[in-house]
């Protein structure tokens, strides 16, 4: 991404983005009519403590399934994108768009789509897993891409010189290079995953209402019924899962990932250290060791069996080769057929929808867009107002940084969607309106991205630059101006881009809230979208609100973020 953006590249980016939107929209409308959701009857959800472990297990499995998919996707996608210029030109903008388009808005479409594929609970499960997947996959794929791209040239050449190709190259060079970023992004992805999991377990689309058994639906239901005790127990369960995951999985993994780092500088101190979890941290490796000792004989046997059979030479079996070629052509043709059919169906459905008489509410869309944008700006301003001082404080005192990091990790990985009921109920009681609540909810979807990126940026400020400003006796204020702020500028921009991506999703979840069969909403784009999806079921309104949201996102990206990003990489990159 460090290359100069050319007009041609921008044009391809835009074209790709439009294509993606067309596909997603097409899918939505092609299947919107064909699949009835009225017949969906989920299992009854019990707000009782005895069911809680089962619900927690269900949610965890949903997360794991989505994560495994995202992991596979990100490795394949990232490696392909890093393969060559041409791949990169198409695949990077696609990720860019996927990351910034509010996927939550397309969630109903996903439900229609998956339920039409598989009826009943399985379809709904697939839709939920898909939504979680979309919140996890993009940053991981980008991480893989960046790792491969920034691979030191001499390492690549060393392997080339040994003639290492194929699997060996993958195993010894590419995959190890991806480990640090993949682990780091996996942690972020799980945080994002929890956020959407909570939001997607209760599904209410038009007349259909479906509750997947899980922690999210349990929490929502408990809040809705005013069962405070159960609500708090549920929240504690969630917190326990997150803390345990951190201790057993992420901590050991991050430590392990440190070994794969390429940097030589010893300046960055390990940021993750939680005293009480150090004990738990040893559990993971132990479990891993036991597993390994169990599986090693089996794997060894397989390996020996494979090694003893003579190598398979495809050239000796012309029939096989020919068959494979035919199968491959068939598969590609099938894929093309499916894609083009989806596009055509979708375009027809799209046009048909647009031909309908436009309701008068359409005229409010610009104003609603403005109102939502103001809310987003307010939330963003609050995010900056506390995260930048925090980052500066962390840069001045490593002790503060060490204390802040684990705290922020735990609090930040608590999915704010789980706290939505509490926040909404409280704010409505205090202010009587939903507006402030809505801004606070958006804030929860934005602030952590900014904070984590800033903290990462702070930890990467080279030690010699810090020494230089100290040795020249720069004052505190001058140090902020000359070193700290310029140094964190690139992280601030990346953090802001991600935060706005998260913010748009949060917007859809935060402008409209149902509590005890009362609907609380504010005037805004998100509320309009929700209203059209959940209440009126007006396809035209859904389409138009989604389109204007995507339009605003794209315009903001092109006019604001892309430019700032270019400035950041041009001027403020620390590259030695």
């Amino acid at each position: 991404m460090a290359t100069q953006p050319t007009n041609a590249k921008r044009a391809t980016g835009l074209l790709i983005s439009l294509l993606i939107i067309a596909i997603v929209l097409a899918m939505f409308f092609a299947y919107r009519r064909s699949a009835g959701l009225g017949h969906l009857h989920g299992p009854r959800l019990h707000v009782s403590l005895s069911h809680l472990p089962y619900y927690a297990f269900c949610s965890f499995m949903r997360m794991s399934a989505a994560y495994v998919l995202a992991l596979i996707f990100s490795i394949v996608y990232g490696l392909l994108a890093a393969k060559g210029r041409a791949w990169e030109r198409v695949m990077l903008p696609a990720i860019d768009i996927a990351q910034s388009v509010p996927v939550v808005g397309f969630f109903p479409a996903a439900i229609y789509f998956f339920v039409s594929l598989a009826h009943g609970r399985f379809g709904v499960e697939m839709a939920a897993v898909f939504l979680i997947f979309t919140s996890q996959a993009w940053n991981m794929a980008l991480g893989v891409f960046e790792s491969v791209k920034t691979l030191p040239n001499d390492s690549v050449e060393a392997l080339d010189a040994f003639g290492a190709t194929g699997w060996l190259r993958l195993k010894r060079l590419l995959l190890p290079a991806c480990v640090p970023k993949l682990v780091y992004n996996s942690i972020l992805s799980w945080v994002a995953g929890w956020y959407y999991l909570i939001a997607c377990e209760i599904i209410a689309v038009g007349p259909a209402h479906y509750e997947l058994p899980g922690l999210g639906s349990y929490l929502m239901k408990a809040a809705d019924k005013g069962r405070t005790g159960e609500l708090i127990t549920g929240l504690l369960t969630l917190l326990a899962i997150i803390v345990l995951m951190d201790g057993i999985v992420w901590q050991p993994l991050s430590e392990w990932a440190e070994k794969f780092r390429y940097e030589f500088a010893a300046s960055s101190e390990p940021m993750r250290s939680l005293g009480m979890l150090a004990v738990l941290g040893s559990v993971g490796p132990t479990v891993l060791r036991i597993f390994r000792s169990l599986f090693r004989p089996i794997l060894g046997a397989v390996h020996r069996a494979l090694a003893s059979t003579p190598p398979f030479e495809a050239a000796r079996y012309p029939v096989l080769q020919r068959t494979w070629r035919i199968v491959r052509i068939g598969l590609i043709a099938l894929l093309l057929f499916i894609v083009s059919k989806g596009l055509i169906d979708g375009t027809i459905a799209l046009l048909r929808t647009l031909m309908q008489p436009w309701p008068s509410a359409v005229r409010q869309i610009p104003a609603a867009t403005g109102a939502s944008l103001m809310r987003m700006l307010a939330a963003y301003a609050i995010s900056l107002a506390w995260t930048i001082p925090c980052a500066i404080a962390a840069s001045e005192s490593p002790r503060f940084a060490r204390r802040l990091a684990p705290f922020a990790e735990i609090v930040g990985s608590m999915p704010a969607t789980a706290l939505f009921p509490l926040i909404v109920i409280f704010v409505i009681k205090v202010t009587g309106g939903m507006n402030l609540a809505s801004i606070l909810l958006i804030l929860t979807g934005m602030q952590w991205y900014v904070l984590f990126n800033l903290l990462a940026g702070i930890s990467q400020v080279p030690a010699d630059l810090k020494e230089a400003v100290r040795s020249f006796g720069l004052s505190r204020f001058a140090t902020w101006r000359k070193l700290t702020l310029p140094a964190i500028f690139p992280s601030l921009i990346t953090g802001s881009i991600t935060a706005w991506g998260g913010g748009w999703n949060a917007l859809i979840l935060s402008e409209y809230f149902v509590y005890r069969s009362t609907t609380y909403k504010v005037f805004g784009l998100g509320a309009m979208l929700d209203d059209a999806t959940y209440q009126t079921g007006n396809g035209l309104m859904i389409l138009l609100t989604l389109l204007s949201m995507v339009f605003v996102v794209l315009v903001l990206n092109r006019l604001v973020w892309r430019r700032l990003y270019d400035i950041a990489t041009d001027r403020y990159r620390i590259d030695y």
């Binding site: 630059l465 040795s471 020249f472 720069l474 001058a478 000359k482 001027r571 990159r573 030695y576």
Partner: protein
């Protein structure tokens, strides 16, 4: 006149298993007008010593006296030149050089004038508005040198200033450094340079301090009596180089 005195300096760092002593009981003095080179194997605490003199780091025990007095915090009469140059990538050459002047509250007009003088001295004319990214390694270190000289320090501290450069560039910069040091119009008359290149030390310094490793101790304090300009091919040069070499090898 005595410029600097290190009295029984020790420094250790926290380590996975207890503490790691890096410098142990290091004492020496620096007289006004000396060019001192500190050599030793890697890990002997030379860079740490430089940072203690500058005040970037506190010694675990011992005292640093500058002109007979103990300095609290950063000694602003020193300026440090880094091996990695440590230039702010977002500041132009001129802004980088003005950094130290700004910190000392020098007025903008005066700042500009002085930066101009030192840009000229190190041969960076025409590059005032360039960014470090656009410069070669040798040019970057010229900026680093000009930045340090611009604050007109009494004592110039150099931490392996030419180690990150290619050999030919390093030779040129060494000559230029000597010219600057011998230039009577320059305010800086004292240099302490840390290096692991023994030839560099013999070529430049009046005095060579040899440190041993783990923890760093003073092994030898040699006066270099060779006349300047020093020729690497002369007998005296080589015998001194060999002598320092053998001292380091014995201890390592």
């Amino acid at each position: 006149m005595r410029l600097l005195e290190l009295k029984h300096i020790s420094r250790s760092f926290p380590h996975a298993k207890g503490v790691l002593p890096v410098i142990a009981d290091l004492s020496f003095t620096v007289e006004e007008g000396e060019f001192i080179a500190v050599v030793g194997p890697s890990g002997c605490g030379k860079s740490t010593m430089l940072r203690i003199i500058n005040g970037l780091m506190e010694p675990t025990s011992g005292q640093v006296l500058y002109k007979g007095k103990q300095v609290d915090g950063i000694n602003l009469e020193c300026a440090l030149v880094f091996q990695s140059f440590a230039l702010m990538p977002w500041l132009s050459v001129k802004a980088n050089i003005e950094l130290g002047l700004e910190a000392r509250g020098v007025a903008p007009a005066e700042r500009e004038k002085r930066a101009g003088v030192y840009i000229d001295k190190v041969g960076l004319d025409g590059f005032e508005e360039a960014y470090p990214r656009e410069l070669s390694g040798g040019m970057k270190q010229r900026v680093g040198l000009a930045r340090a000289l611009a604050v007109e320090p009494q004592l110039l501290l150099m931490d392996e200033p030419f180690s990150a450069l290619d050999a030919l560039t390093a030779i040129t910069l060494r000559e230029e450094l000597l010219d600057l040091w011998q230039d009577k119009t320059m305010p800086v008359h004292n240099i302490i340079m840390v290096t692991h290149i023994i030839e560099e030390a013999v070529e430049l310094a009046d005095r060579i301090l040899v440190l041993s490793t783990g923890p760093g101790r003073l092994v030898a304090d040699l006066k270099v009596e060779l006349p300047r300009p020093r020729d690497r091919r002369k007998e005296g040069f080589n015998s001194l180089t060999d002598k320092v070499f053998s001292m380091i090898e014995e201890r390592a």
